[in-house]
């Protein structure tokens, strides 16, 4: 290809990409850059920002509400991400095998992910109602007096983790597809070596779908760190916020748009982003030993 034709092709390509490039520059990179600046300012939103140095970042360390939401969010991430992965892999193993009506069960697991988040939260609000909820009614049938799931601070985190499993369907679909792609000869070799089904699952299936597990772990972690809609619906009530149901993104939103402290909210947002990047990096680093890529070797 001549240089002129190559340049023309490049320009044509850029022209086709221009809407995305311009959109990304205006609505993604520019706001990101501005938010870095705002995080170093006192910016009450209704007044122009005034340079305040690292005041907002320093204030984070002295803010008890900030530490409360960090603690709540950290626990939620630590419990909901592994729980979601374990349940997802187990369900995929169960539903991807030779079970009757497999398609129906797969659809049943996937359909909840299509329900709008707010609608799902409203359903859970009633399911978990301590007095009238179905969960406690069922527990009552076996002689267990269920707790006040969404009111008692001790039970808020478990209820949030259980609710997070409601959206495990997407991971299950990915895991089923990955499991169906595992070469049959690996299982045959395992059987010849005397592996029972459980060992085959652990030593063949799990390593072979480990790239998909890594992908799900990263996506789930990012979503969990940013959890917002469900606790906002369930725990922010007219008579006050349940402290155990107060999460990082909720406080970030409140700081920006309820209290009008955009500078502080931007500082929180950047800290959140750094944590997400660090966690993602950590998972990639750990994956070098734990994730098996077919054809490329570990960590390829």
């Amino acid at each position: 290809m001549s240089a002129a034709r190559e340049a023309r092709a490049t320009l044509t390509g850029l022209a086709w990409c221009a809407p995305w490039l311009i959109g990304a520059a205006l609505f993604l990179f520019l706001p990101m850059g501005l938010s870095v600046y705002y995080s170093f300012t006192d910016y009450p939103l209704l007044e122009p920002p005034v340079w305040a140095g690292a005041t907002n970042y320093a204030r984070l360390w002295d803010d008890p509400t900030f530490w409360r939401v960090v603690r709540n969010t950290a626990w939620f991430v630590a419990l909901s991400v592994p729980a979601g992965l374990i349940v997802g892999v187990v369900l995929a193993a169960l539903l991807g095998g030779r079970v009757r009506l497999a398609r129906l069960w797969q659809a049943c697991v996937f359909i909840p992910t299509l329900v709008p988040v707010i609608a799902g939260a409203m359903v859970w609000m009633w399911l978990f109602n301590g007095e009238l909820g179905l969960v406690n009614r069922v527990l009552g049938l076996v002689g267990v007096r269920g707790p006040a799931w969404l009111v008692d601070e001790t039970w808020v985190l478990p209820s949030m983790v259980i609710m997070s499993l409601w959206g495990v369907g997407q991971s299950v679909v990915i895991f089923i597809a990955a499991m169906q792609d595992v070469p049959a000869y690996l299982y045959e070799a395992g059987r010849l070596d005397g592996m029972n089904p459980a060992r085959q699952f652990w030593h063949v299936t799990v390593p072979m779908i480990s790239p998909q597990i890594l992908f799900s772990a990263i996506v789930s972690t990012i979503n969990a760190v940013q959890v917002f809609a469900v606790p906002y619906v369930l725990f922010r009530k007219p008579d006050g916020q349940n402290p155990a149901g107060h999460y990082y993104s909720m406080y970030l939103y409140e700081s920006a748009f309820v209290y009008g402290q955009m500078g502080y909210a931007c500082a929180m947002a950047w800290l959140q982003m750094l944590v997400i990047i660090a966690l993602t990096g950590l998972m990639f680093w750990a994956s070098r030993r734990l994730v098996h890529y077919r054809g490329g070797g570990a960590g390829a």
């Binding site: 009450p44 007095e131 009238l132 006040a148």
Partner: protein
């Protein structure tokens, strides 16, 4: 070069042409904002004002009638009523973005923050030109219309007009009172009388485990829980008008959540929780329906007395018109003197950057006419915010306790939410700590003493913000 598969081959030119045609078609024939009347008004050269308001249902319908009457009364201005949820936040973003509406219906507690940020247009000169004066309004509501930032020595400025106002009182079930031998024509006047009425009204399910599951209570602080901060004012005998700061001393810009009256009030609240039983009270609350539903615990008889505004008569009218209720001012310690109660208002403001302030003020003046305020107040079941109300308005009012609310408007011991720009943040902290008091996590005194420095830190940050701006604030 072609786009797509061989089966569906399309040239690049055809693809671009299709996209351009689609865009043009959408631009020409796509959906339009506004109705036919608005387009007609704009086409005929009338000034079109955008009025953002939070009200929906019957409350919104009433305001629409006021707007429609204004639009029909003259041919120069057309007001477009736009229902806006989360109005405080959306207005903030719109004003900051330089694209505000012409009029906004805010809550009274929004005024200090907006005013200090210079986000509102002052009405001191504008309003009187349209015949609107502060003296028109009931004494108790005037305080929310003006504001002065802490530290400023000049007088407060006028920022908002009040389109509806309510005061908070005690509503009780007369049938429940009769059932337990209380006089249904006389609500409790002292805290001790309230406690006694509560004790008599508490009913537990026979044969249930523990202390017994609750079937009915007399008074239940978390229902509805909208004003968790007001008890201190009833223990202190009023707010700033009575010489007591409540939980915020505006003159010193100081939080006073550890003041003796508030601590005493919180102990009183915690006593209720202890008497009812933690587990029983929590389980009982989970059976309550939402406010505007037939399952509201006051309507279902689960709570015999509630603290509420006059709008509760709309709830009763909608779901249980036969409900027999009484209204009285919420009690104080001694039960003496003028009534004590919180005044809660909705305000209408002209934001900074509004395109037509004169036309906007003309519309506000229309809404403040006696007939319009009474039309709106009747639909909202509230008293009129004006100093003078017609006898027919009072006689035909759908809330039988409207005069109780009027008395609160005129009472020197009535009080407003603390007039500070950081009230929402302090209130959120306060609400969280009040929940801890109710759950009996620690002695009330300890919780409030621990809250005091946190509340003060919020105020100090706001003061620091003002200093950083060299005191250049709107109010």
């Amino acid at each position: 070069m072609s786009v797509g598969t061989r089966a569906g081959t399309m040239t690049r030119r055809a693809a671009l042409g299709a996209m351009a045609a689609g865009g043009l078609g959408f631009a020409l024939l796509g959906p339009r904002g506004g109705g036919a009347a608005e387009r007609q008004a704009a086409a005929s050269g009338r000034i079109v004002l955008d009025y953002w308001e939070k009200w929906t249902r019957h409350e919104g319908d009433a305001m629409r009638r006021v707007v429609d009457a204004f639009n029909q009364s003259q041919g120069r201005i057309f007001v477009r009523y736009v229902v806006t949820a989360d109005i405080g936040q959306k207005s903030m973003v719109a004003i900051a973005g330089g694209a505000p509406p012409d009029l906004i219906g805010l809550y009274a507690f929004n005024v200090p923050g907006y005013a200090e940020s210079g986000a509102l247009m002052p009405l001191d000169d504008l309003a009187p030109r349209f015949g609107v004066t502060l003296g028109m309004y009931a004494e108790g509501v005037r305080g929310v219309m003006t504001h002065r930032a802490p530290g400023r020595s000049d007088g407060p400025r006028w920022w908002a007009c009040v389109n509806t106002a309510g005061s908070v009182a005690l509503y009780y079930s007369r049938a429940a009172f009769r059932e337990v031998g209380l006089d249904p024509d006389r609500g409790p006047r002292t805290i001790a009388e309230l406690d006694e009425a509560h004790r008599r009204l508490v009913k537990r399910r026979a044969g249930s485990e523990g202390r017994g599951a609750l079937e009915r209570v007399g008074f239940f602080h978390p229902e509805p829980g909208w004003w968790s901060w007001i008890w201190a004012y009833h223990f202190a005998g009023g707010g700033p008008g009575a010489g007591t700061p409540g939980i915020y001393d505006a003159a010193a810009d100081r939080a006073t959540v550890d003041a003796p009256a508030n601590i005493e009030a919180m102990r009183w609240m915690q006593g209720y929780s202890r008497d009812l039983g933690q587990r029983e009270a929590r389980a009982f609350k989970e059976t309550f329906g939402n406010y505007f539903t037939p399952e509201n615990p006051f309507l279902t008889g689960k709570v015999g007395m509630i603290v509420q505004g006059p709008w509760v008569a709309n709830l009763i009218g909608a779901f249980r018109p036969d409900f027999d209720y009484g209204v009285c001012a919420f009690p104080t310690l001694d039960g003496q003197g003028p009534p004590v109660g919180h005044i809660d208002t909705d305000v209408i403001v002209i934001p900074r950057g509004a395109r037509h302030p004169e036309a906007s003020m003309e519309f506000i003046a229309w809404t403040q006419r006696q007939d319009m305020t009474e039309l709106l107040a009747t639909a909202h079941c509230k008293p009129s915010p004006l100093a003078v109300a017609s006898e027919s308005f009072l006689a035909n009012h759908p809330n039988r306790g409207v005069r109780v609310h009027y008395d609160l408007f005129r009472s020197p011991r009535a009080f407003h939410a603390p007039r500070t720009r950081v009230w929402q943040q302090i209130k959120d902290e306060f609400d969280t700590q009040v929940q801890r008091v109710w759950r009996d996590e620690a002695p009330a005194e300890e919780i409030m003493r621990a809250l005091q420095p946190r509340a003060q830190a919020i105020l100090d940050r706001a003061a620091e913000q003002r200093r950083r701006r060299g005191g250049r604030v709107g109010a």
